[in-house]
Structure formats: structure tokens, C-alpha cells
């Protein structure tokens, strides 16, 4: 990680994520579209944050930046002391692998792989040996109460079970952030509540969770809500 630089000015032990004046501009033909117009915030370790906003507010763009799937066109993004905004594709891939655990609305499990293999996948890219992978994957499935479904394929699992497999996959590398994008969007409300309870437990055990949603009920599980509108932060509230 030669390009990983520690920037002393923004270094702060308690700051897990530090976003400074993030811009993301898309070129649509000759027109420039500013999805994010200078967003700054800090998220500390073990925070539980909901990012809300109507569609077009820039919340998907912000999620992509936080998840290191995309790079900002302006500003600085520092994740655990590493200036992610200056990294290239492959360095970002390593960050995604080690630091970010994604949970998607549509689960995004590999359809032909078993639950166990899906959970194993991030460790394959981390170069972890097979025996250790299997052990950790089984352990992660136990944590989401799916030990007995390890050899089932996604189409043999219910929606809630699939999302729990996805959570196990997100956690298996021990990431800094659990980044969930509308995690209950494809689930009925009872199952959605199950998943949110699981998130609550994960937060209690020390994980940092960022939840992107447009549903108030879901956002209420978080202890802090950042609202976006037109590429700006409209409000940033903590509940105690």
C-alpha cells in the first residue's frame, strides 16, 4: 500500500471516517451534474449512522464514495487514517476487501454458490488459505444463525436468510464499516425487523454501521441521521 498516506492534519484517533468537502461531478454530454456539492462529516468508530434523503439527493453517490466503489472528483476522504480519495482502482479494491462490508438491497449473492462459498468469497480475494477460510465462514454463518444452511444455495433460502448470508459475508473480513444500502428494501416488514435487530446486535458488539435508506422506520434504528438534499447535507442529528 505504497500510495496509502497518513495525513497528519486530519489524523484523529477517534475519527473513523473523515470526509472533507467531497464533490462528485458527472459529465453528461456537455452538461456537468453535481451529485455531491461539498459534503463534510466525521464518523467515529462504533457509530450507527443512517444516511437519508429523497432520490436524486446524492445518497447513492455518497454511499459509493464511502464504500470506495467510486472516487470523489474533489475533496478528501480519509478512512482510518488512509487517504482513500487518492487511491487507484486496485488499492480501492484492497480497501473494499479489508475495510468495507457491503450489504445490498438485492443481497447480491452469487446464485450458483452455496451460502458457505458466498461467505468465503471476500477471503479468497484476501488470499486467506482454504482451511482458515472455511473455519471463518462457518463462524460468520453461526453469528447470523445460519450454520445449518451453509450448504444451501441462495435460491434454497428465504429472503431474510439470504440477507443474513450477505451480512455474514460483509462481516467475515472484520471490516471497519458495515455499509448497508436499503438492506430491508426487498424484505417484508417482519423479516426487515429481524435484520434490523441483527444490525443492532452488531452495533452493540462494536461494529460501525452506516445505513442508507429512505424509510424513517428503518432510519430510526440508527443513533445518528445525516439527511442529504441536492448534494448538500441538510441536517446531521444525533439521538441520545
Amino acid at each position: 500500500m505504497s500510495a496509502t498516506t497518513v495525513v497528519p492534519a486530519v489524523h484523529d484517533d477517534s475519527a473513523h471516517i473523515r470526509a472533507i468537502d467531497l464533490w462528485r461531478t458527472y459529465q453528461m454530454g456537455t452538461e456537468e451534474i453535481h451529485a455531491l456539492r461539498g459534503v463534510s462529516f466525521t464518523i467515529n468508530a462504533n457509530e450507527y449512522v443512517a444516511v437519508m434523503g429523497p432520490s436524486g439527493s446524492g445518497k447513492s453517490t455518497l454511499m459509493n464514495l464511502i464504500g470506495c466503489l467510486d472516487s470523489p472528483t474533489g475533496g478528501t476522504y480519509v478512512l482510518r487514517g488512509k487517504t482513500v480519495s487518492e487511491m487507484n482502482d486496485d488499492e480501492l479494491a484492497v480497501i473494499r476487501n479489508r475495510e468495507i462490508g457491503f450489504v445490498f438491497q438485492t443481497f447480491n449473492l452469487l446464485p450458483r454458490a452455496t451460502a458457505l462459498h458466498n461467505v468465503e468469497l471476500p477471503m479468497v480475494y484476501a488470499g486467506i488459505p482454504k482451511i482458515e477460510r472455511l473455519e471463518r465462514a462457518r463462524h460468520a454463518l453461526e453469528m447470523v444463525d445460519l450454520a445449518d444452511r451453509a450448504n444451501h444455495k441462495p435460491n434454497e433460502l428465504s429472503g431474510g436468510q439470504r440477507q443474513r448470508v450477505a451480512v455474514a459475508r460483509a462481516l467475515v473480513m472484520g471490516p471497519s464499516i458495515l455499509l448497508a444500502d436499503e438492506p430491508t428494501g426487498n424484505l417484508d416488514s417482519a423479516t426487515g425487523e429481524d435484520i434490523m435487530r441483527l444490525f443492532g446486535k452488531l452495533h452493540d458488539s462494536g461494529n460501525t454501521i452506516i445505513l442508507v435508506t429512505h424509510e424513517h422506520d428503518i432510519a430510526e434504528h440508527a443513533l445518528r441521521t445525516i439527511r442529504l438534499r441536492d448534494g448538500h447535507i441538510e441536517s446531521d442529528e444525533r439521538r441520545h
Partner: protein
Amino acid sequence: MPIWEAVQFALASLRAAKLRTFLTVLGIVIGVASVIAVVAITQGLDEYVSAQVLQLGSKSFTISKMPAIITSRQMWEEMQKRKDITMTDLEVVRNACGECSEVGGSSQSNRTAKWHDIKQEDVQVYGVTENYSRIGSIRELSAGRNLIPDDVDHARPVAVIGSDLVDAFFGALDPLGKTILVGGQPLTVVGVAAKKGSLFGFSQDNFVWVPLSSFRKLFGTYRTVSISIEARSMAVFEAAQEQCRVALRTRRHLGFKKPDDFAIETGESILDLWTTFTHNIYIVTFVVTAISLIVGGIVVMNIMLVSVTERIREIGVRKALGARRRDIRRQFLVEAVILSGLGGLLGVAGAAVFSWILGTILGNMMSADFSAPVRLWAVVLALAVSAGVGLVSGIYPAARAAALDPVVALRNE
């Protein structure tokens, strides 16, 4: 990501689309099988021809009016104008060549042979010196005796016959002592040559040997003589040819810069000619069959492109989970190489069967013992080429997959 992980990913996705995998592999199988089979058959042909030609014997050579292989009509017309080789030429060579152990002569004409009412058409009648059967590869007799100096000296009407004539005329009867008519001339059978089989579908046993002197007396003296020579040893093989050449050129008063007006040929030189003659045909055949391999490669590339398009979402997920560009590239490359490598392996098996069948058919057509051996180098080459084809056809699709933007890929439905 280590390569075996990529292999496992690739195998999993190939298993997931079995019919597609099978059809893609089939394309390569056909390509590889035909390349190996063609190589096997051309090799088999070459070996067959060289075995036949080298029967001429390693330290023997011939001097004739025209070379054994004529490659154009113009060349043939040119050769026709040459002087015949005469009995005197034969004598001159015999006397001049100190390094020759045997110098024999032969003339040839095709005639109909008859015994009572039975006719055998197109019998090759050779007028030969008594040492003829000792020059080059020795032709064994299965019955009776060979021609002897006395037969030649006294121009006796005697004959050694090939087994085709025995089969046609005598069946179980003893041919020795019988008198047959060859071109209307009565000849007494004194010997039977051992059966040799056929070459390119032409029987090598449909012949009659008579003393050269008798031949000239019975069938005319105007024919050219072809001289067969055995050198004393391999060491003087070149020297013997040179002595003969000089003797014949001197006798014919050929100027210093004039080319030979006769052909000195060894088994080797005929084989060289055969090789140059067939070389281009082989290359063309090889290239034409290799095209099927290229087509197979295009099929692989096409399938890989379809596969990448279908799996954009999967690629996005893998990238989100930490796959780097090279991990994705490797996965798709390995998939393409496995597809065509598998085709290569099955193609080798197919080629073994294919060339065995073709070899048998060709063998039957030429009524000869012919085999088309599958060569190790052809197998190795075919496997390397098919894996290479996979690599080349996989590069572009794999690069496309690797270059996908994870955000765009994840959004793909």
C-alpha cells in the same frame, strides 16, 4: 488470488452452463482433431513413401534418361529430347567405375502375357542383366532360380515371373518349366519372385524378368537402358556416382558448362524430390485445417464476451468484495483457456480415432500396410496451440470484464 482459485471459479461457471460449454469445446475439439489427424496422415504418407523408395538400397543408384519424378509438362518434353542410354553407355560405365561393385542394366516395356486361354494385361516386362536382382534391395525368389550369366550371354528365352502371374495362370500348379507367351513371344519360367504387395494401388508383382539380351532380341533394340549401380561401400558412394557421371559425360562429349543429359538418382535424391514436391501441399492442407482452429478460437471469444455481458452484476459483486482488476481478468482468462484446453485434450483423443479410421481407409485404398501415427510433437503442439487460442480469445473479454466500473456493474440488472 492464486491461480487454482481462479481455476475453481472458472470450473464452477463452466459447469453452470453445461450445454454452452460442451458446444464451445466441441468447436475446439474438431479443430484440434483435424489438425492432428492431418499431420498424422501426411506423416504416415511420408514414412510410407520413404520406406518404399529407400528399398532402392542405401548405396545403390540409377542412371536413366529421365528422372523418376517429373514436375511439369515442359520438363517432360525437355527430357524426351535426351539421347537414349545405349548398351554401349552401359559398357562404358561398367568399365569406368572402379568404385562400383555391380553395374547392371534394364529396359522395360508393358506387354500382355498369356498362358493357354488366360490373359494378364499390362505386365511389366523387364530386360535385365543377371546381376539386376542383387542391386539395391535384394529381391528374393520364392521358387526356382534367378537369371544367370549364361541366360544373358546366350539370350535364352527364359523368365523369372512375379507372383501376380503365378496367381493368374497357375494357381496351385507348379509354374517352373511352363512356357508362357509374353507379347506373343514364348518364354520358359525358371523362377518366381517373392510377393511384394502394392505401392499406391499399383501391384509390384505383375512383372516378368527376362535376360536383357533376350529382351532386345524379342522386343527391339530401340529402347533406352536404365543403369542400376551398387557402390562398393557407403564411403565411396559419392565417388562412384562421380566416376559414372564423368564417364558418361566424356562419352557424350558434353561441354564443361553443359548440364548432364541423363539423371543420376539415389533413393535419397528421389525422396528429396518427393519432399519438395509434397511440402507445399502439406503446408496448404495444414493451414486449411488450422483455420478450423481459428474458428474455434472465435467461438470461444464470442462465448466469453456473452458470458462477460451476462455476468456484469456478478463482476460488480466480486469487485465490491475486493476483487482487483487482475483477479477478474485472471478468472475469465482461465475460463477461456480451460474451454479450449479441454477441447485440445478431447481433440487429441478424437484425432487418435480419426487418424486410425482414415489410415485404415487409405490403407485399404492403396492395398498397402499404411498407418497414420499420432505424433507426440503434434499432440503437444495442438495442446499448446489450443491453450494459446484460448488465451488469445480470452484476453479481450477478460480485459472488458476487468475494466468494468464497480458502480456501473452493480447497477446492472
